[in-house]
C-alpha cells in the first residue's frame, strides 16, 4: 500500500507541478486593419507593446488585409465564427455596422479610462459612429482629401504650379484640369483620383462636391444622380477623361508616387508613399474650388469592437488605450485626430515631419472644420455595386451623361427607398 501511495503522490506531483509552472493563459486580441504600410505597422506595434507592458497577460496583433474587398473579408470571418476582436471600419459601411448590433458599446469604457478625456473628441466626428447616445466605434482618422502635386512634372509642361494659382486666387477646377491636360500632352499622366479605378465611384465625391452635387438626398431616400449639379459635375469629369485626356482613362495604370502623374487626390496618410530616393518636388494643396465654391471632403475610418468577439471587454480597454490623448498624438502623423486639443498646426506639425505647417493648416485643419464626411448609406455595398454597373456606361467616349445618370437612379432608387 505504501508503495502505491508513493506512486500516486508522484503521479499527482508530476501533473500538478508542471501545471503550476505554466503561467496563466495569455489573452490574444486581434485588430483587423487595411493598411500594410510599414511605418503604420511599426507605430501600431509600438502602441500594442506598450499596452502589453502594462497588461502582461494581453498580446495585441494587427492583421493587415487588402483594402480592396476589406469589408467582404471581415464579414466572411464573422460568418465563419472567426471575427477579430477589433476592426477598422470604412465610413461608407459605418451605418450598417453601427445599426446592426455587431459592435459593442464603448462609451462606458472610454469614460472609465483614466485620462481619456472623452469630451475632447469632437461631436461632429463621432456622429457617424453613434446611435442614440451610445458610441459604437472610435473615429481614429478624420482625414480630409487633399491634392498632392508633382511640381517637377507640371513645370516641365510649362504650367504654373498649383501654389502659384492659389496665390493668384485662380485655384479652380477648370485651371487644374488645364494643367493636367498640358502634362498629359507632354507624355505623363494628369490627375489620378486615387483608388477610384472606374469602380469605386464614391471617391469622385472629392470632385463632384465642388459642384454641390450629392448622390442622394440628405435623408438618403431619394436618388439625386440625375439632378443638374451631378450631371454638370459628371459631364466635367467625362470631358476631362475622354476629350482633354487630363485624367487617365479606364484601364490605364499610373502611379503618382512613382512620379508618373501631375496630381493625385488622396488623404495625408499617403504622404508616407512619397519616394525617398530620387524624390520629386511635391506639394500638398486643398482641392480646387468648383462652380459651387470652395469645399472639402473628409474620409473617416472608425475602430469598433465586436460584441461577439472572444474578449470584447479587453478589446474595448485596448481601444481606449490606443486612442487616448497620448497615443492619438502619435497616430496624428498618419491619421488626423478627432480630438479638438490636437487639431492645431503646432501639434500636427510635430507629428507630420513630412508636411509643412502651411500645408497642414490649408488642407487638414481647414478641411476638417469646413468639410463634409464622405457619403454613407445603409446597404452601401449593394448600392455601390449596382451604381458601379450602371456607371460603366459613362466610362466610354461619346457617353450620354444625363441618360446614364437617369439609369443610375432607376437602378438604385428602390434600394434607397427601402
Amino acid at each position: 500500500m505504501k508503495l502505491l501511495d508513493l506512486r500516486l503522490a508522484a503521479l499527482a506531483a508530476g501533473i500538478a507541478i508542471p501545471l503550476a509552472a505554466v503561467p496563466a493563459m495569455a489573452t490574444d486580441i486581434r485588430m483587423a486593419i487595411w493598411s500594410a504600410n510599414e511605418a503604420h505597422l511599426k507605430l501600431f506595434n509600438e502602441i500594442g507593446a506598450a499596452y502589453t507592458a502594462a497588461h502582461p497577460d494581453v498580446n495585441v496583433k494587427f492583421d493587415s488585409r487588402a483594402f480592396d474587398g476589406y469589408t467582404t473579408t471581415l464579414t466572411t470571418q464573422i460568418a465563419g465564427g472567426n471575427a477579430p476582436d477589433l476592426a477598422w471600419i470604412l465610413e461608407t459601411t459605418a451605418v450598417d455596422f453601427v445599426n446592426s448590433g455587431a459592435l459593442a458599446p464603448l462609451k462606458a469604457t472610454f469614460k472609465g479610462s483614466a485620462g481619456y478625456d472623452l469630451p475632447d473628441v469632437t461631436q461632429s466626428s463621432l456622429a457617424l459612429w453613434s446611435a442614440g447616445s451610445e458610441i459604437y466605434a472610435y473615429p481614429f482618422s478624420t482625414s480630409p482629401f487633399g491634392m498632392f502635386v508633382n511640381n517637377d512634372v507640371i513645370k516641365a509642361a510649362g504650367q504654373k504650379t498649383p501654389a502659384q494659382l492659389i496665390a493668384a486666387g485662380e485655384w479652380i477646377w477648370d485651371n487644374a484640369i488645364k494643367i493636367d491636360e498640358a502634362v498629359a500632352a507632354a507624355g505623363k499622366q494628369g490627375l489620378i483620383v486615387r483608388d477610384f479605378d472606374y469602380k469605386v465611384w464614391d471617391n469622385l465625391a472629392s470632385i463632384w462636391s465642388g459642384w454641390g452635387a450629392t448622390p442622394w438626398s440628405a435623408d438618403g431616400k431619394t436618388c439625386t444622380f440625375a439632378e443638374q449639379p451631378m450631371v454638370a459635375a459628371m459631364t466635367f469629369i467625362h470631358n476631362a477623361i475622354f476629350t482633354k485626356k487630363a485624367i487617365p482613362g479606364p484601364g490605364v495604370t499610373a502611379d503618382f508616387f512613382a512620379g508618373e502623374a501631375a496630381m493625385t487626390i488622396t488623404q495625408i496618410s499617403r504622404a508616407s508613399l512619397l519616394p525617398r530616393e530620387n524624390p520629386f518636388s511635391w506639394d500638398l494643396v486643398p482641392l480646387p474650388a468648383g462652380p459651387a465654391g470652395e469645399y472639402a471632403v473628409i474620409g473617416q475610418a472608425g475602430i469598433g469592437v465586436f460584441a461577439k468577439g472572444k474578449n470584447p471587454a479587453v478589446a474595448a480597454d485596448f481601444l481606449a488605450f490606443f486612442t487616448n490623448p497620448e497615443n492619438s498624438r502619435k497616430l496624428a502623423q498618419f491619421f488626423p485626430p478627432a480630438r479638438a486639443s490636437l487639431l492645431n498646426a503646432e501639434v500636427l506639425a510635430k507629428a507630420n515631419p513630412l508636411l509643412s505647417p502651411e500645408q497642414l493648416k490649408a488642407v487638414v485643419i481647414k478641411g476638417i472644420s469646413t468639410g463634409k464626411v464622405k457619403l454613407s448609406h445603409a446597404g452601401f455595398a449593394e448600392i455601390q455595386q449596382t451604381a458601379r454597373a450602371a456607371l460603366d456606361a459613362l466610362w466610354v467616349p461619346n457617353a450620354d451623361v444625363p441618360a446614364v445618370m437617369k439609369s443610375v437612379c432607376a437602378r438604385i432608387q428602390p434600394m434607397l427607398a427601402m
Partner: protein, 309 residues
C-alpha cells in the same frame, strides 16, 4: 425393432460469426470508410446545410438567422438580374467549351507526332495548368490593360487595340481566353492519351482503301476518342459553371453586368451584400444546373460515344 443407434457425429458446432464473406465485407467497408467519411463530411453535410440556409434569412452583421420558408426561392424567380446573369453564364460556358475542346484537340493532334523535341512542346502547353490561378490571372490583367502588353505589341504594328476589359464583348472574350489558356493543357493530355490508344492498323487499312487524312480523322479518330470527348466536355462544362477567380480579378462582373456569371453573382449576394440565405439559394440553383447538364450529357453518351458498353 431396431434400436436406435447412437450416432457418432459430433454435436453441430456453432457457426463462426466471422465467416469469410463477413470478413471480406468488413474489409470492403473499412477500405471505403475514409472516402465515405470525407464525402459525408465535406460534400453531403455542407450540401444539406446550404439547403437549410436557403430557407433562412441570415444577416451576418446583425447575427440574425430567421426561417423564411420558400421566400428566397420566390425572390430568386422574380430577381430582375437573373436573366442577365444566366445569359452571361451561358455565353461564358458555351464559349469556353467550344474554344477549349477545339484547341485542346488541335494541340493534341499536333503534339502526337514523332518529332525530336516534341516533349518540350507538350510540357510548354501543359505548364499553365500547374501555375497558380490567381497569379496567372493577375499577369493577364496587366497584359489586358488599355496601356498593357497586348496593346503595346499591337501598337508596334500600328493597330490601336481595344480596351479589352472595359467593353462588354471583349471583356467576356478576354475572360474566356484567359481561362482556356490556363486549362487547355489538361484536356490536351487527355486527348493525347486517347489518340495514342487508337490502333495503328485501322489507319493502315484506311490508307489501303484510299481514305484521305481528313476522312481518317473523321471516321476513325473521332469515333474512337469519343469517350474522352464526352469526359472532357463534362469536366469543362462543370468547371466553366464554377468560374470565379478570373472574374473577380479581371472584371469584377463588369462592364455593366456583362461578365457577372452565376458564381460571381452568388459571391456578391452572400459575401458583399451579406445575404447568406439568398446566396445559398443561388448555389442550389447552380447545383441543379450542373446536375441536369451532367445527367443530360451522360444520357447522350449512347448516341455520341462509340464503343461504349
Amino acid at each position: 425393432m431396431p434400436l436406435a443407434t447412437p450416432t457418432n457425429e459430433p454435436a453441430p458446432r456453432k457457426r463462426a460469426f466471422w465467416t469469410m464473406a463477413r470478413r471480406e465485407g468488413l474489409a470492403g467497408y473499412l477500405f471505403v470508410a475514409p472516402q465515405a467519411a470525407g464525402t459525408i463530411t465535406f460534400v453531403l453535410v455542407p450540401l444539406g446545410l446550404v439547403f437549410w440556409y436557403s430557407l433562412h434569412e441570415w444577416n451576418v452583421l446583425a447575427g440574425t438567422f430567421k426561417f423564411v420558408n420558400d421566400a428566397n426561392y420566390r425572390k430568386l424567380l422574380a430577381d430582375p438580374a437573373l436573366p442577365e446573369v444566366l445569359g452571361a453564364t451561358a455565353i461564358f460556358s458555351a464559349g469556353l467549351v467550344i474554344f477549349n475542346l477545339s484547341l485542346a484537340l488541335l494541340l493534341a493532334v499536333l503534339v502526337n507526332q514523332k518529332l525530336k523535341g516534341i516533349v518540350v512542346f507538350r510540357t510548354l502547353f501543359f505548364s499553365p495548368v500547374v501555375v497558380s490561378l490567381v497569379a496567372w490571372t493577375i499577369v493577364w490583367g496587366f497584359l489586358l490593360q488599355a496601356n498593357g502588353g497586348i496593346n503595346g505589341i499591337l501598337g508596334v504594328f500600328g493597330i490601336a487595340g481595344p480596351n479589352w476589359l472595359r467593353t462588354p464583348a471583349t471583356a467576356m472574350a478576354s475572360v474566356i481566353v484567359v481561362q482556356v489558356f490556363k486549362n487547355v493543357g489538361l484536356n490536351m493530355v487527355l486527348f493525347l492519351a486517347a489518340l495514342q490508344g487508337v490502333p495503328r492498323e485501322l489507319y493502315e487499312a484506311a490508307r489501303v482503301d484510299g481514305a484521305s487524312r481528313f476522312k481518317q480523322f473523321r471516321r476513325i479518330t473521332l469515333p474512337l476518342i469519343s469517350p474522352t470527348i464526352l469526359l472532357t466536355m463534362i469536366i469543362t462544362i462543370v468547371g466553366s459553371l464554377q468560374v470565379f477567380a478570373q472574374i473577380a480579378v479581371l472584371t469584377q462582373g463588369g462592364p455593366g453586368m456583362s461578365t457577372t456569371v452565376l458564381v460571381y453573382y452568388l459571391y456578391q449576394q452572400a459575401f458583399q451584400f451579406h445575404r447568406f440565405g439568398y446566396g445559398a439559394t443561388i448555389s442550389i440553383l447552380l447545383f441543379l444546373i450542373v446536375a441536369v447538364l451532367t445527367f443530360a450529357q451522360w444520357q447522350m453518351r449512347r448516341r455520341i460515344v462509340f464503343y461504349e458498353n
